[in-house]
């Protein structure tokens, strides 16, 4: 079957041949004519040397250096280039044992014959100098310089975080990283990783069989230069931070101090803490394990992640909501007869008098707030208690409770403000909503979970009379502006005009007759509020929040001391010392004894050996779900609500 198109075969074949000839010509020029692509005829190899830039430095707000870098030297080996060498000499120079060397070499071979792997990490400068001189004897080995973090102040480990080797997940997420790279794992090092890390550079070098560098490959065509990381100025005050860590010695808990006019975090202490230098260098893994195994959980950042009930510090929130909703005025009076009793429900207190608003704050009267909270929930404005509760919750959340604030700390937790669904499911279960079963919210107990950071932000909000800036740790980045979200005011749902009405009461807390009168600082008007956080696992936690000076506040603070029992016993004195230190840079002689007592107090040993697990929402939920519905049936005396106001007498007696 012959057809007229048969000749077209030749055209098609010609097309094939033209392409083939073009390719042959191209290959001939590439491989034979053009010498620029050729490596020299000997067994030269190209070695890829990564230049790790120094990470950015970190300063405190006054310019004190918090983090810098020291040089470290990693020894690498490319198994394929290995030649017999004097192992004894090598071990002497580098200080590793023969067994270690053998094991590491085997690991390197297992990984790859052609790609280099690190066999000795972080060699000292002295050993490096000797090795460098004799490196020609050790074919296949080479040294890569990198930097390690150093923390001259030995403070703020939880804020600064640490740097560690990247894992596979991080490499997958960001192709910038390669195995063996370092990156910020927690804290500031993590939040500002992109700014701090700079940019790696790569040099391709020609190396001959004697391990000598013959020059750069292709005149450095493929080399890239490393860019040093940006420096970061934090808002921390190193002196105050150090002082706070000293005060918290021997105690578990936290201190968070914020500058209310900017939201800058001045101090963030989580105790027990550790020396940040422990998580650097060759022994890092060992130290990390030891810290992780410690029952006091020093790696756990309590300031951001512990969620305690706020206790009586929460009373001002309820007061403000009452004022805003019109069910409370500064002159509203409620009586206290050693507590608040309805039917067989009883909430304990220790007054036998009638209070107005400021007195109720100053003396922290539980009965006052039980009645005030009922008036919020039973407000006739709302068809039922549940809707009143939803409104209440919305106000509470506007203070930054029950949600993340959006700070620049990684691992910030939300805390817990129960939704009405939660109570419906665990408490009311279809029955009519009443105020009584959830009345412990009036005094900040029950199901509430609030982090120390949120409490400090709340103190800053009160200091500003109604708004806050998102707390943040960064003050300045070398070449960039700080994120704009840190420079915007965030208002609560309460009118700013309501705030002055509660401030007076907070001032009285530190005046004679107030719950924390002992913590008064001569010459400084300070506003504060004591609190006690119920702890089902042991002694209650001591809580205090404050700001000062009263008129133009420069510092807002929250202090939690675990198992410190009453707010006035530990948290309030510690807060007052922090404020005095920050505002006057010293402690007045009349208060030296207090400082000494706080520093020496040790609450860690005699208490229960098994510490409370990091307050997780789930445990809170399960423990309260069983308890809450039973409240009505439990004999009144057993519901012992903590009594802040007795503390003064007690402490002065001591």
């Amino acid at each position: 079957m012959v057809d007229s198109n048969a000749k077209r075969t030749y055209l098609i074949a010609a097309i094939f041949l033209v392409v083939a000839v073009m390719y042959l010509i191209r290959l001939f020029t590439l491989q034979v004519v053009d010498t620029s692509y050729k490596l020299s005829a000997t067994n030269n190899v190209v070695r890829r040397i990564v230049n790790y830039p120094a990470r950015g430095l970190v300063y405190d707000r006054k310019g004190t250096l918090l983090v810098y870098n020291q040089a470290a030297y990693d020894v690498l080996v490319t198994p394929r280039e290995l030649q017999p060498f004097d192992t004894l000499n090598f071990c002497n120079i580098t200080g590793v044992t023969k067994e270690e060397l053998k094991e590491q070499l085997q690991k390197a071979k297992d990984y790859s014959y052609f790609k280099p792997s690190v066999i000795i990490k972080q060699l000292s400068a002295q050993r490096y100098a000797i090795l460098q001189e004799q490196l020609y004897k050790f074919s296949g080995f080479f040294v890569q310089t990198r930097t390690l973090r150093e923390y001259p102040q030995k403070i703020a480990s939880h804020v600064l975080g640490y740097v560690g080797e990247v894992n596979q997940q991080m490499i997958k997420k960001d192709p910038y990283y390669e195995t063996g790279d370092y990156a910020g794992i927690t804290g500031l090092e993590k939040s500002y990783e992109k700014e701090l890390r700079g940019k790696k550079g790569v040099n391709y070098l020609m190396v001959d069989v004697h391990n000598r560098i013959k020059g750069s490959f292709q005149n450095g065509r493929y080399d890239t230069t490393a860019v040093i990381g940006e420096n970061v100025v934090t808002s921390l005050d190193a002196d105050l931070q150090r002082y706070g860590e000293k005060l918290m010695q021997g105690k578990a808990g936290s201190i968070v101090a914020i500058e209310p006019s900017t939201g800058e975090v001045l101090t963030l202490v989580s105790s027990p803490t550790y020396d940040p230098n422990l998580l650097v260098g060759r022994d890092r893994g060992e130290h990390y394990l030891a810290l992780a195994r410690d029952t006091l959980n020093p790696l756990f950042n309590r300031a951001l992640m512990a969620q305690y009930p706020p206790g009586s510090t929460f009373k001002m929130v309820n007061a403000l909501i009452g004022l805003q909703e019109g069910v409370l005025t500064p002159y509203t009076r409620y009586a206290c007869h050693y507590g608040y009793t309805v039917g067989n429900y009883h909430m304990g207190c220790h007054h036998d008098t009638v209070f107005t608003l400021s007195g109720s704050i100053a003396e922290s009267c539980n009965a006052y707030y039980a009645q005030e909270f009922r008036s919020i929930l039973e407000n006739p404005k709302y068809p039922d208690v549940r809707q009143a509760y939803d409104t209440w919750r919305k106000y509470v959340m506007s203070f930054g409770f029950g949600r993340t604030l959006g700070t620049d700390f990684p691992n910030e937790l939300k805390g817990f403000v129960p939704s009405s669904n939660f109570y419906e499911k665990y408490v009311f279960k279809g029955s009519r909503w009443r105020a009584l079963p959830i009345i412990s919210l009036a005094i900040g107990q029950g199901e509430l979970g609030i982090t120390p950071l949120q409490l400090a932000n709340y103190a800053a909000t009160l200091a500003n009379r109604g708004y806050y800036y998102i707390p943040h740790i960064v003050k300045k980045i070398q070449n960039e502006n700080i994120p704009t979200r840190f420079t915007e005011r965030h208002y609560t749902d309460i009118d700013t005009t309501q705030f002055p009405k509660i401030i007076e009461g907070m001032e009285e807390v530190l005046k004679p007759g107030g719950t924390a009168a002992m913590s008064r600082i001569p010459g400084i008007t300070m506003c504060g509020k004591t609190g006690t956080a119920q702890n089902p696992h042991g002694a209650d936690h001591s809580v205090f929040m404050a700001f000062a000076p009263a008129d133009h506040p420069k510092i807002a603070i929250s202090v939690y001391v675990e198992n410190g029992v009453w707010g006035a016993r530990y948290a309030a004195p510690i807060a007052s010392l922090m404020i005095e230190k920050y505002l006057t840079d010293s402690i007045s002689s009349g208060r030296k004894w207090l400082e000494k007592r706080m520093m020496e107090a040790n609450l860690l040993e005699p208490k229960k050996p098994k510490k409370k697990a990091p307050a997780e929402t789930e445990t809170t939920v399960s423990s309260t779900t069983n308890k809450t519905p039973e409240r009505d049936t439990v004999p009144p005396k057993e519901i012992a609500v903590k009594r802040d106001s007795l503390v003064i007498q007690e402490d002065t007696i001591n």
């Binding site: 098609i12 390719y23 191209r26 034979v32 692509y37 065509r221």
Partner: protein
């Protein structure tokens, strides 16, 4: 031979065991064994079977191509693989030989006429459906393979004009990208006048046209200079050309010269095509596709970014010299300077370890295979076998040209494998099917298959 090269590309002294399943060359060996099994099976089955079931195979693979969009595993941004017990199966690879079978079956129908609208439409659909489905998998490279069927159609009677215009369009495409507008329009005017001159064979007339055009251009230039100073050079050129074309058409009508209209049509359609190319290029192509084309055309050079693969690959091939560094001695490929070296950039390993001798041998062997396939196809008595044979040659050629072209920097980076060399079971199987079905058809070439 292909297998030895994959072995070299991933060779590592720790994994001495060739049969190690976790290593690529170990897997590839299994693929090869299975491919041999496929080859034998293909040869045993009666050739009528392939003719009879051509459409069925085609339908099955189309279903798989649709299914992979929903149930496939995503690798490198392309949802194109089924994973079965550690082996990845890529239906797009199977698409090639089944489409070839279906096209062969359709063309070999009694009464088939290439230039009927229906024929062209059906053929267009046969190759268009799998191509579009593969594009939907985000694997544009594999879809481009189907363009090669134009060679097959050409052999079966498609007008040479299609081939010519296809080629002209490709040239225009490249020129649009590397030249600016003024230069391109200038070139088109020049080409149009030249074409007119060749057709008319009248020197005087051409000179007249040139002079008139130059005069109009001058007037428009002066006009724009004095009245509308904002006009760009391109604008001036367009206005002058528009006026000239108008005059030219009137001239053509008056004197009844037909070529005038053809030349004007050529000019206008070329210009329109070029404009739409730049539109497609800027607005339709994805950034990385654009970057790869730019890199090859030398519009932008970025040896550490987009051009990285190609540059590293050129270095690896270039470093091989005349004789190469010897089997398993390549340093560039060992250091993983060249990414994807055991799949798409396998030719680097050949270039580095075997030198120019190796690369030219590979190219010559490929040519011998391809030309031989063409002549084998031509000697078939049945049209089915012949069409199929051309399809095989065309598909292999396309892979060969694109894959090697990209490693030596002559073609944009399109991720398609080099037949019988690249790692990957699906592609090896697909080429085995492709080739051995043809060998089976060839064995019964004296029969008329329908």
């Amino acid at each position: 031979m292909g297998w030895l090269n994959i072995y070299a590309a991933v060779y590592n002294e720790d994994h001495q065991s060739i049969m190690d399943m976790t290593q690529r060359y170990g897997k590839q060996l299994i693929w090869i064994l299975m491919a041999s099994f496929i080859a034998i099976t293909v040869l045993i089955i009666d050739s009528k079977f392939y003719v009879a079931f051509a459409y069925v195979f085609y339908a099955v693979v189309i279903v798989l191509l649709v299914a992979v969009l929903f149930f496939g595993k995503e690798v490198n941004g392309a949802r194109a693989w089924f994973e079965i017990g550690g082996f990845a199966l890529q239906p797009a690879e199977l698409g090639k030989f089944v489409t070839n079978l279906a096209v062969a079956k359709y063309i070999s129908q009694y009464n088939f006429k290439m230039h009927r609208f229906k024929s062209l439409a059906v053929l267009g659909m046969l190759i268009g459906i799998p191509a579009l489905l593969i594009i939907a998998q985000n694997d544009t490279g594999s879809a481009l393979v189907y363009a090669v069927f134009i060679l097959v159609f050409y052999r079966e009677g498609l007008s040479g004009m299609f081939l010519f215009w296809g080629f002209a369009a490709a040239v225009l495409f490249v020129l649009t990208l590397i030249w600016n507008e003024v230069r391109l329009v200038g070139f088109l005017i020049f080409a149009s006048i030249l074409a007119y001159g060749i057709v008319r064979q009248k020197m005087k007339e051409v000179v007249k046209i040139v002079v008139i055009f130059a005069a109009i251009l001058g007037v428009v230039y002066l006009f724009s200079h004095m009245v509308r100073p904002g006009w760009s050079t391109a604008m001036i050129l367009y206005v002058a050309t528009g006026i000239s074309i108008f005059i030219f058409i009137i001239y053509g009508i008056r004197k009844r010269i037909q070529p005038v209209f053809w030349v004007v049509l050529f000019f206008v359609s070329s210009l329109a095509l070029s404009r739409s190319v730049s539109f497609v290029y800027e607005d339709v192509l994805v950034a990385h596709q654009r970057d790869r084309i730019d890199e090859v055309l030398g519009i932008r050079s970025d040896p550490l970014g987009v051009g990285y693969n190609v540059n590293q690959s050129k270095i690896a091939i270039g470093s091989g010299g005349v004789t190469g560094k010897g089997f398993l001695k390549g340093t560039q490929t060992k250091f993983n300077f060249v990414p994807e070296q055991s799949t798409d950039f396998i030719f680097c390993t050949v270039g580095e370890e075997w030198g120019f001798l190796g690369t030219s041998t590979v190219i010559i062997l490929f040519m011998i295979l391809l030309i031989r396939l063409l002549f084998l196809a031509e000697r078939q008595r049945s049209r089915f076998s012949r069409v199929y044979g051309y399809g095989v040659a065309g598909i292999l050629f396309f892979h060969f040209a694109i894959n090697i072209g990209m490693t030596i920097g002559l073609v944009p980076v399109i991720g398609i494998p080099l037949p019988f060399f690249s790692y990957g079971g699906s592609s090896l199987w697909s080429f085995t099917f492709l080739l051995f079905i043809f060998l089976r058809l060839d064995a019964s070439r004296m029969e008329i298959l329908r």
